[in-house]
Structures are given as C-alpha cells and as structure tokens.
C-alpha cells in the first residue's frame, strides 16, 4: 500500500512535468495548427539554462527557474521569427505546410541538440541545488523536489490560465487560436500574437526542464523521450485543450509509473507510447478534446 502511495506521488509529479511540456505543444497547436517537433529540445535547453543561471549568478533555484523561462521564451520567439514564419504564412493546411513543418521541426530539433552538445557536452549534468533532507511520510522517503514540482507547476498553470482568460492580451491570443482572419479584421496583431504563443510555450517547456532537473540528471538526449511523452499527454487529454494537457500529463505519468512498478520496469518508456497509440486509435479527441481539426 505504501508502495502504491509512493508510485502515485511520483507518477503525479512526473506527470505534471509532462503536462507542462504538453501545455506548450497544445498551445502552439491551437494557435498555429502545427505540431512543434522541436519542443523537446526547448525543454532540454531550458534545463541547461537553469544550471547556467545558477552557476553564473549564484541565484537561488526559483530565480533560475524564472531566468531560464525568460531566456527560452526569447529563444523560441527568435526561432519562430527566423525559421517557422515562412512556413506558417500560408495559414497551415496539413498536406503541404504541415508536412513541411513536421520535417522542419525535426531538423530544428537535431540542430538544437547539437548546439547544446557543443555548449555543454554529452555527459549528464547534476543539478547544482540541494533541497536538504527528504520528507518522510510513514516509511516512504520523498525528496522535497517532488513537492516543489507540484507547487511550481500549479502556480504556473494558474498564472497561464488567468492570463488567457482574464486579460485583454490573453483574449487576443484566444481569438487568434479561434480564427486568424477574423481576429486580424478585429484589429489583433496576429503575427505578434503568434510569436507570443511560441514564447510562452517555450518558456513552459523550460520551466518543466528546470523542475525535473533535480530529480534526473540533465543531458542532451532527454528531449526526444519528453517530446513523445508530452505528445502522448497532449493527445490523451485532447489536443488543443489546456486543462486537458495537464490532465493528460497526469494520466500518462501515473500510467507509466504504475506499469513500470508492477509490470516490467525496463520497458518503462514504451508504456506511454502504447497509451498514445491506443488513445489515437480508439478516441482521437482525447479525454477533454472537443474539436479535431480535419482537412476538408
């Protein structure tokens, strides 16, 4: 029973991290109708940037989190402006622009991975923070970082949700996500909003990277698996739905941790894909998804 509780706490916190990355993917999808294949790399680079901020400025963990988010957000805007803008100009159908975007994202992802390799090397980096003794719940020792993940992620989600629903800028972002042409006619600066969406999404990925840093080592190859799991989370929750991304993340995290705990542990990374494939085949709209965009 205690083992189960341990698995649940670990699964939920890991799942919330998946949810944060899935949130960015979902945001980009709802805003631009494209799937960003290089998102895992922003997560990885954000994690490294957190280390860099801590080492260079000696700032505490939470400032590193915010610093990494800002730098990654700016990086995301730059990448979008320089590379993706040409492709999304057409509006974003699936066949031509979509295929181009997928291939382009793939290329960008390996390029960013190589940049990270040149900057930080291939060895796994430990996170230079200590949270002190783990918390004891009965006989289970839980590192404090799991609780930090829960708190930080929930705060970030609340801030994002408030931003999207309560502010004028957030309304503009949602208008762009709903219909670009109409919002253009209503005086929304669509290109700036698209850049903003990219920046926020990449900042979320970086936050996930910094949050997971103290649990896992940080290394340049961690982007791919995270990308696939975050996709699984986004699909399970329903593509394009923000609460769905969080819920999907928790479902994927729990499923994966429980399967690894009670079935074969070495196949841990496969379970998320199985869930992804089953959900896509059985219920492509996901748990909370309402709209599935299909080419006419």
């Amino acid at each position: 029973m205690e083992l189960l509780l341990d698995f649940v706490i670990v699964g939920v916190s890991i799942g919330i991290v998946y949810g944060l990355v899935a949130l960015g993917i979902s945001l980009i999808f709802s805003g631009l109708d494209i799937v960003h294949f290089a998102h895992g790399e922003f997560y990885m680079i954000g994690s490294f940037l957190g280390i860099a901020v801590i080492l260079f400025t000696g700032a505490p963990y939470f400032w590193a989190l915010i610093g990494a988010m800002i730098i990654s957000g700016v990086l995301g805007v730059v990448v979008e402006r320089v590379f993706y803008r040409r492709l999304t100009r057409g509006g974003g159908g699936y066949t031509v622009a979509g295929m181009g975007m997928i291939i382009c994202g793939f290329g960008m992802s390996v390029a960013l991975q190589n940049v990270a390799y040149l900057l930080w090397g291939a060895a796994p980096h430990p996170y230079p923070v200590g949270f002190g003794m783990p918390i004891f719940l009965g006989n289970i020792a839980l590192p404090k970082s799991y609780f930090y993940i829960l708190i930080c992620a929930l705060v970030l989600m609340t801030v994002l949700h408030t931003f999207l629903t309560r502010t004028k800028l957030g309304l503009a972002v949602r208008a762009v996500a709903y219909n670009k042409d109409t919002s253009y006619l209503m005086g929304v600066n669509v290109p700036v909003m698209i850049s903003l969406i990219f920046g926020v999404a990449c900042a979320m990925a970086a936050a996930a990277g910094v949050l997971i840093g103290p649990i896992n080592y940080v290394q340049i190859e961690m982007g791919y698996l995270m990308l696939l799991k975050a996709f699984a989370a986004a699909v399970v929750g329903g593509f394009g739905s923000l609460p769905g991304a969080l819920l999907g993340g928790i479902v994927v995290g729990l499923f994966e941790t429980l399967c690894a705990g009670y079935l074969i542990a070495s196949y841990k990374d496969i379970y998320a894909f199985l869930l992804l494939i089953v959900v896509l085949m059985v219920r492509p709209t996901g748990l909370l998804g309402i709209l599935v965009k299909v080419k006419a």
Binding site: V35, T95, M99, G100, I103, F106, G107, Y117, Y224, I270
Partner: protein, 350 residues
C-alpha cells in the same frame, strides 16, 4: 541559321536520345547498362573502406527509395521508418543465429515480418493524418528501438553479434568486395521496381491520394487500400535493407544504429533529394552519404549541419535537388523555344 542551344540542354537531349535508343533495343536495356557500369566498382575503388561506403550507399538508396514511395508519393508523413529497418535487421539476425537458417531463407522471412510490421504502421493512417500520423509512427519506431535495447534475447544494449555471412555453396560473401555483388543487384532491382510502380496506375493512384484523398476517392481510388499498399511496399524495401545490413560483415547489430539520428539522416536524404521526385531517394542517399563521409572529421557539427540543411531545404527548395534539376531543364527548354520563335520571326521579316 539555327541558334545553337545551350550546352546543358544539348547534354540533356543527348542523354534522353541515348536512353530512347537503348529502350528501342529492349525496354530493360538501360538497366543492363547501369548494372554493367556499376559492376566493376569494387576494382575501381582500391580502398576497402570506399567499397564499404558503396555497399552502405546501396542500402541507403533502398531505404530512402522506399521511404519516398510512402512519404513523397502517397503523402503519408511517417517518421518511424528506421523502426522497420531495425525489425528487418533483427529478424534476419535472429533467424540465422538462433534458428540456423541460411541467408536465402532468413531474407524472405525478414521481409515478410517487416511487411506485417508495415501493415501495423499503416493501419493508423486510415484514421489519422499529418502530425498525428507522424507522432504515431515516431512512437512505434522509438518503441521498437526501446524494446530491442531492453530485451536480453535480442542482445539488449550490448548488441547482437555473430550473424554469418551469406553463402552459395562454398562461396561466402565475407568481404565488402564480394558483398557488393549481393547488395548492388538488390539495389538496382529495388530502384527498377520503384520506377515501374510509380509510373504505373498504382503510382498515379498514390499521387491522387497525396493531392486530395476526397477527390481520389471520388475518382474511384480506394484510398485505404492504396495507403496500405504504399506502407507495405516501403516496409518491404526497409526489410530488404535491414536483412542485408544484418548479414554484412562484421555481422553485428546494435540498437544505437537505429536511433532518431538515423531517422533524421534518412529524412534528410529524401527531403534533399526531393520529396515525391522519382529520383529523389537515389540522389539524396548518394549525396548525403558522401557528404557525411567527407565531413567525418567534423562529426561534432554533423547534426547541426544536417538539421539546418533540412530546415533550409524545406524553406527554400521544397522540391529538393530533383526539383531544381527539373526546373532548370524546363527553363532551358523554354528559352530554346523562345529563341527559335524569335529567329523564325526575324527570318520572316527578312
């Protein structure tokens, strides 16, 4: 006086006239010539490493031609092709090491298993398209690699070694020079079949599915069946390439040879050569493998280079090298026609 056409156009015209003359002798004549030209390569390339490279290019051509059929011609975005390649390679290896079957039996079995796996990859394409399909195929491809690296029976991360070289009687294909005569004919056959398929009714149906599934269905193309056929054909190519790769010396397989990086390289071949161009996979495989080999000293930067080349190719030449060549020839033809017309007008004025 007739205006002299540009040198490049004269070259293209003479090549085409030559091909037409060969086809007039026998439709298969150009292929026989190609085989004869490629056959002495092991003696021309003195260095064994270069012969190995030629073998590798042949395998890559098989893979990228297969990928181009499903991706470029049928328009289904699949990024799990390396998973099929791995399935082909490991099936052949397990059959010949653990069950002791000779290469000539394990090859068809590997191709058959890969065909079945291709069907499994193809089923999601009925309901999903675009990014969703890319995700599922990426997930399947990665799952294959993760499964292999976590399964002791398949050697896990240590790799699977001791795959014997193929043999006919006492003749063993145990050097790269000998193996070339196994790989090259298979590659030529693969390219030949891809040309036959893509220029037939089947190929046109694939293109119809790519351009607009609804319109294709309205014109009497069974969309589901053609998607499935495209996936199966490309899987068969991957199976052949995988089995040949497994039996090539040193007969050693490692899951690290089937990562996303290999997938990106494969993607680069198809994209750079030209998605949906009949020569795309071939041009891409040759160019990318040779460039990769030349820049081997800078392997730290290779992924950065590959990634940026993919991005820039998609942005600035979406039809790849093949498309550029096509456009160049078309432009030259156009200029030549215009010149001829201008000349005729001048003659008339005189």
């Amino acid at each position: 006086m007739m205006a002299e056409p540009a040198a490049s156009l004269r070259f293209v015209d003479s090549v085409e006239r030559g091909l037409a003359r060969l086809r007039a002798i026998h439709p298969l004549m150009p292929w026989v010539i190609a085989a004869l030209v490629l056959a002495p390569l092991p003696w021309v390339l003195v260095n064994t490493y270069h012969v190995y490279l030629a073998n590798f290019i042949c395998l890559m051509i098989l893979l990228s031609v297969g990928l181009n059929i499903v991706k470029g011609f049928c328009g289904q975005v699949t990024v799990g092709h390396v998973g099929l390649y791995a399935i082909g390679a490991y099936t052949a290896a397990v059959m010949s090491v653990n069950f002791g079957t000779p290469f000539w039996i394990s090859l068809p079995i590997a191709v058959g298993v890969t065909l079945l796996a291709g069907m499994v990859v193809g089923i999601p394409s009925f309901r999903l398209e675009g990014a969703y399909l890319a995700l599922v195929t990426l997930g399947l491809g990665e799952s294959v690699r993760l499964f292999i690296s976590a399964t002791e029976y398949l050697g896990a991360t240590n790799g699977f070694s001791g795959v014997p070289a193929p043999r006919i009687g006492e003749f063993r294909f145990d050097t790269y020079q000998k193996y070339y005569f196994l790989v090259m004919p298979v590659m030529l056959l693969g390219v030949f079949f891809s040309f036959q398929i893509l220029r037939s009714r089947l190929g046109r149906a694939f293109m119809a599915v790519r351009e607009d599934p609804v319109a294709a269905a309205a014109s009497g193309v069974n969309v589901r069946r053609h998607k499935m056929i495209a996936f199966m054909i490309s899987a068969a190519y991957a199976g052949f390439a995988g089995a040949l790769y497994a039996h090539m010396i040193p007969g050693y397989l490692n899951p690290r040879n089937f990562t996303v990086i290999e997938m990106v390289t494969l993607l680069l071949m198809v994209v750079l050569g030209g998605l949906g161009h009949i020569w795309g996979g071939i041009i891409g495989a040759i160019v990318v493998t040779i460039v990769y080999d030349i820049t081997k000293d800078y392997y730290h930067y290779s992924l950065l280079m590959f990634g940026m080349v993919i991005v820039l190719t998609v942005l600035f030449m979406p039809k790849g090298i093949g498309g550029i060549i096509d456009r160049f020839i078309a432009t030259r033809r156009f200029i030549a026609i215009r010149e001829r017309q201008a000349e005729a007008a001048r003659d008339e004025a005189d």
